[in-house]
């Protein structure tokens, strides 16, 4: 079910990306720099790894910056691989729609919800919110009426 | 009484019959569809919901008759009339019994179909005038559909006209009296079996019924050409649709099922009295079948329907007319 770490680092080396591969309860995750994300994904898909399906792309706000998660899957071998890429706030990452069209919506949503942008995305409009919404919603800095605030309002 | 008064009274009676028919048919449709679909249908307004449709008519009368600002003023008002009046004129030719008819033209069949061909013009006008994209698409579809199905409709009737030898509805019905081989009624459906099926399919398409209800396909165009209409203008169009239904079934019974004739009794006082009732029962059975089809079948796509008409129905009806003429000649000789 899990790809061997050695294979993963070999495939990533083939893509010329320096990556530290870790295995956790989630599975095998490789941390790469965001700038190289598009080419790494291309080689992982077309290369020997044959991760032909991108299950999900989303972002996590880690307090200092935005952590992208690419969840790839090789359908024949039923193996999952996670790529993590760090982008700072209002930063940008290369769009990967050429090799995984599935990211078309996911990138627009991640850009809109976390205040970043994807270079080369063909249709970089907002996906879920309208223009009146200025603050990037899913950032930890954007407040929500937390449980504590409502305890005694 | 002066002939002018007679004419006026007959037209008013025709209008009254049309409105009554419309009310009864709408109620019947809602009840039939309901019970076909395990539902109950209107049952609150009056006993078994009988006054539901008349209350609907009152509602339509009192509702605001709204016209969108960007709509084409005159065409918007003219369209419902151009849809309603032809189906009302077609009423006047139908013969309910040997003596009961509003006007008996010796070219009855031709008159009905000529008048009914105004309806697609009205629908296209409604679609265009309401200046909304969906209505325009609905109007265009209706035009394409009704023109495509006008031809097989007329061709399928030719067979009957050949058998009866005249276009007059009264003569057609009378020539269906009597029995073949002792028990078979001389209705034209027996010799004209294929002609009847062609007529049925074409009539379904003419009156915009499922599976041909392309112009007001609920799941695509909401109500198609009648999108922007409200109040009594919409009421006229709705009523016209149902009177078209009645007219096509009435013409179908006169041509194929021997109008007001019962196989058993001919030409005596009872037949004259029972005539209209027998006729109405036959027509309402035909209408029930159309509603039954409406509650069952899915909808054909517009291009499939047009290719079905031009590639299948018209060649078939042409061939049938020719073959039947040859057979008739041989039999008659």
């Amino acid at each position: 079910m899990l790809p061997a770490e050695a294979d993963v680092s070999r495939w990533l080396a083939a893509a010329g990306a320096s990556a530290e591969v870790t295995t956790s309860i989630l599975g095998v995750m490789a941390r790469i720099e965001a700038a190289r994300a598009a080419d790494v994904l291309a080689t992982l898909r077309d290369g020997e790894g044959r991760f032909d399906m991108l299950v999900d792309l989303f972002a996590i706000d880690t307090g200092e910056g935005i952590d992208l998660r690419y969840h790839l899957r090789a359908l024949e071998r039923d193996e999952d691989l996670y790529l993590a890429a760090y982008v700072d706030y209002d930063g940008e990452a290369p769009s990967a729609w050429r090799c995984y069209p599935a990211v078309l919506y996911a990138e627009r949503e991640a850009a809109e919800m976390f205040g970043m942008s994807f270079v080369g995305h063909p249709n970089p409009k907002r996906l879920l919110t309208t223009d009146e919404v200025q603050a990037p919603l899913l950032r930890k800095s954007t407040p929500i009426r937390t449980w504590e605030e409502t305890r005694r309002d | 009484m002066s002939p002018l008064l007679v004419i006026v009274l007959r037209t008013l009676a025709g209008l009254g019959l049309l409105l009554l028919n419309g009310v009864v048919l709408i109620y019947m449709l809602r009840k039939v569809l309901a019970h076909l679909h395990l539902r109950i249908g209107p049952n609150r307004v009056g006993p078994w919901g009988v006054f539901q449709t008349s209350m609907d008519v009152v509602k339509l009368l009192t509702k605001e008759d709204f016209r969108p600002a960007t709509a084409d003023k005159w065409l918007f008002r003219l369209a419902p009339l151009l849809i309603f009046v032809p189906s009302f004129m077609a009423y006047l030719v139908i013969g309910f019994s040997p003596t009961w008819h509003f006007a008996n033209l010796d070219t009855g069949v031709l008159f009905v179909f000529a008048v009914l061909s105004f309806v697609p013009i009205g629908i296209m006008m409604a679609g265009w005038a309401s200046n909304s994209k969906w209505s325009l698409i609905g109007g265009m579809r209706a035009a394409g559909q009704q023109i495509a199905y006008e031809v097989p409709l007329l061709l399928s009737v030719l067979g009957v006209v050949m058998l009866a030898g005249s276009l007059d509805l009264k003569v057609i019905v009378e020539s269906q009296a009597g029995l073949w081989l002792g028990f078979l009624p001389k209705w034209f459906i027996l010799p004209q079996f294929l002609g009847f099926w062609l007529f049925a399919i074409a009539a379904l398409a003419e009156s915009n019924q499922t599976p041909f209800d392309m112009s007001e396909a609920e799941s695509e165009l909401v109500t198609g050409f009648a999108n922007e209409y409200s109040g009594m203008r919409f009421g006229f169009m709705f009523l016209a649709e149902f009177s078209n239904l009645f007219v096509s079934c009435a013409v179908g019974t006169t041509l194929f099922f021997g109008g007001w004739l019962l196989p058993g009794l001919e030409h005596n006082a009872v037949a004259l009295a029972l005539g209209p009732i027998v006729f109405m029962v036959k027509v309402y059975l035909g209408i029930f079948c159309m509603m039954w089809i409406r509650g069952t079948l899915p909808r054909i796509r517009i291009d499939q329907m047009l290719s079905f008409a031009w590639k299948a129905l018209i060649p078939l009806s042409l061939a049938w007319v020719v073959i039947f003429a040859v057979i008739l000649k041989a039999v008659r000789a």
Partner: protein, 402 residues
């Protein structure tokens, strides 16, 4: 997939050869250059939705029409966006279930189950066998209720009214059973980390048996009404074809992927709850058109009925929930658990920082990725095809907009 079939928008035509310039908002009507011989025809830009009878929810699709044929389509979403992922970050782990019912409101049990499994994997909670049995039974009942709703609305999209009303009869029976067990017809709040909130009350097995005895005849009737119908066939066969490479490229899962012949069902590939002990097969299609998606879903209903019969046969004993601390505080870490919801693979990617509130919860929603292909699938067909293709993808907007 890097052939130029999929060069999208601003750098060139969207997809198929027939496509000209892409559809970008806002845009005026484009005129075809008035060549000497060419008629000056304009493309009609039409809004299908968000208030439209066949968009299955608040979905707004911009269609660029040339006459009746759809040249370009673009979905604009967000009408049902409630910020479920943001809300989840201020809720305790056992309260997140109430949010997730409202994401995919037609199959709430699957979403709750995915989240509960995520927390259980993080905290290594061992769920008792009776709880797994209950979860599987409720998930399959919920799946049939959702598939039956699909059959009804898909029939309605092609114009056949009766199927919709007959399927309501099935759905009503199933939803009553769900209400009796969980307490609510659609917003179940039934599956919690550690197990479920209640055992089967009395009489449920009998109710299920009466339902199972009559449902097969009704399913055969739907086949007569739709599958073998001479009008339904041409309306759906060869319409909205999505081949395997496109489906995989767009991350589609569930019936649209299995309709292309790809054997991928999370219940088989990564069994969870009690699916390992059940034997059922995964129906597959071949062309990946609307008809195959419909046939795959109706076959799945029959498989689910088979599973329920096997489940009812052997009712295990035991507790319906594990001993779970009142305040769940999973250790820091990340986990992804996937469930086969009626629309496809529904996954919860849970990031926990050790506190009792989830740090980040990502709902991988199948309909979100099944819908992304709409720009490709609708191009080239007629409006009637667009409606049927959209219906065949069986999307639920609550899950797409979150």
């Amino acid at each position: 997939m890097t052939d130029d079939r999929l060069r999208v928008t601003s750098e060139g035509p969207i997809v198929a050869e027939g496509r000209r310039e892409p559809l970008l908002l806002p845009r005026g009507l484009r005129r075809v250059p008035r060549g000497v011989d060419e008629l000056a025809t304009e493309h009609l830009i039409v809004n299908m939705g968000p208030q439209h009878p066949s968009t299955h929810g608040v979905l707004h699709i911009l269609l660029e029409l040339d006459g009746e044929t759809v040249m370009a389509a673009e979905a604009s979403l967000g009408y049902l966006h409630r910020g479920i992922e943001k809300l989840a970050e201020s809720r305790r782990h056992h309260q997140v279930g109430t949010l997730l019912d409202r994401a995919d409101y037609v199959s709430g049990i699957h979403t709750e189950l995915a989240y509960a499994m995520a927390v259980e994997r993080l905290m290594e909670i061992e769920v008792p066998e009776k709880a797994q049995w209950l979860r599987t039974l409720m998930a399959e009942i919920n799946r049939i209720a959702s598939h039956v709703l699909f059959v009804g609305t898909f029939g309605m999209d092609t114009g056949s009214m009766p199927t919709f009303l007959y399927t309501m009869r099935e759905r009503e029976a199933l939803v009553d059973i769900l209400e009796a067990v969980t307490g609510s017809r659609m917003m179940f709040n039934y599956v919690r980390p550690g197990g479920v909130t209640g055992d089967l009350p009395g009489g449920i097995i009998e109710k299920l048996e009466t339902f199972l005895s009559t449902v097969d005849t009704y399913l055969d009737e739907y086949d007569v009404l739709l599958t073998d119908n001479e009008i339904f066939g041409p309306r759906t066969k060869g319409v909205g074809v999505i081949d395997r490479t496109t489906a995989i490229a767009f991350g589609m899962t569930g019936a649209p992927l299995r309709a292309t012949g790809m054997d991928w069902d999370v219940r088989k590939v990564r069994p969870y709850a009690a699916y390992a002990q059940l034997d059922f097969d995964v129906p597959l299609g071949s062309q990946g058109d609307c008809f195959d998606r419909y046939v795959v879903k109706t076959a799945e209903i029959r498989q689910s009925l088979e599973m329920i019969r096997q489940l009812i046969a052997g009712v295990p004993e035991g507790e319906y929930t594990a001993k779970v601390p009142r305040v769940l505080r999973p250790p820091a870490g990340e986990v992804y658990t996937a469930v086969e919801s009626p629309r496809g693979e529904l996954g919860i990617h849970l990031v926990s920082d050790g506190s009792d509130l989830p740090y980040r919860m990502r709902l991988r929603s199948p309909a979100y990725y099944n819908l992304a292909v709409v720009d490709e699938a609708l191009a080239g067909g007629l409006i009637a095809d667009a409606v049927v293709t959209l219906g065949s993808l069986d999307i639920v907007l609550g899950e797409i907009d979150r």
